[in-house]
Assembly symmetry: C2
Homo-oligomer: 199 residues x 2
């Protein structure tokens, strides 16, 4: 879950404990869910909540920012892999990953991070680093669909990625429309967009 | 700009000054843009920044929450009116309203409000009160388009509203994709969705 982001000074040969990693990530998410801002989030508070020492955290992460990226990545889940069955199935699959069940806690945490990301160019860069690989997976599915003839040759791929992703995102993050059912939304979005609005 | 939300105890017959209203709203937006949270936003601070007395604010608004709703409404601009020319033109028009130019200040303020809205059922209700009339205008355009035969008869109207609105919203609020041009996005979204993704 935290692979590739641990840039901390972990002693060579010391085995990582997945359990401890998870407890630390969970502590970050718990503090954010309770309304803590990134500014007020301290390694001390995270350590106390996870029941570990500060040194244990610093052995695993270079600091708060790196830890935060892993915490968000854990909410988002691993980058999805398309199955290559059909464009429709792949798109629904891509839009259905993320928190297994969009819950209030996730909405709370994600929404807390929005202003933090806007406030700092460095965080915006980290955020783009999380989002871009996911956009790229969807682009590949769309390009594949163009090649196979399932999709229009003149498709505006970048806008299609945005139009597919955004409704699910705002629903998960903002609870934008209380009348939309979260569970069925990915399939409804994909079907509506594939068919198009025009007669 | 503040019509219909002023529930404060304004003395009968006392004329409203649009200039003072604007200065107060501008003070709220300025404080939010500088990273102030709704919790830390005080009538004292707003009054000081606007150069008015607290009583002046309380004559115009019942309190902080009502003032906040008007401040957000002023960012969003007046609810748009479709021209009834064509579905395409009307949809582009509806998606192009809001801040004339999506700027960093608006992104900052809007993103600051996201967690505040999630945190309080009362604010969520106020937020829905702002969003729902805008959704309804777009629904009407879509239903009109179904009637006129421009749009498919079996259109999933609720999902179409979400799919049209969401890409513009996340771009404005999150600067979701640095590669997308904000100016041309509404037209690109509308054209992509009208035509559909499928071949």
């Amino acid at each position: 879950m935290t692979a590739g982001v641990d840039t901390g000074g972990r002693a060579p040969g010391r085995p990582r404990s997945a359990h401890v990693d998870e407890a630390i990530i969970e502590a970050v998410l718990g503090l954010l869910a309770e309304g803590g801002s990134v500014e007020t989030l301290s390694i001390e508070a995270i350590a106390a909540r996870a029941g570990v020492g500060k040194a244990t955290i610093y052995r695993r992460w270079s600091g708060k920012e790196a830890l935060l990226v892993d915490a968000i990545a854990s909410l988002k889940g691993p980058p999805p892999e398309p199955l290559g069955e059909s464009v429709r199935e792949d798109l629904i699959r891509l839009l259905s990953v993320g928190p297994k069940k969009p819950d209030e806690r996730t909405a709370q945490i994600m929404s807390c991070l929005v202003p933090e990301v806007q406030r700092s160019p460095e965080r915006y860069r980290l955020y783009q680093g999380l989002v871009e690989p996911r956009r790229e997976v969807m682009r590949q599915v769309l390009r594949q669909g163009i090649s196979s003839g399932e999709l229009r040759a003149d498709l505006d791929v970048e806008v299609a990625v945005a139009a597919l992703t955004a409704p699910v995102l705002i629903q998960r993050m903002l609870r934008w429309h209380p009348g939309l059912d979260d569970e069925s939304l990915p399939a409804r979005v994909v079907d509506t967009l594939l068919a198009g609005l025009a007669h």
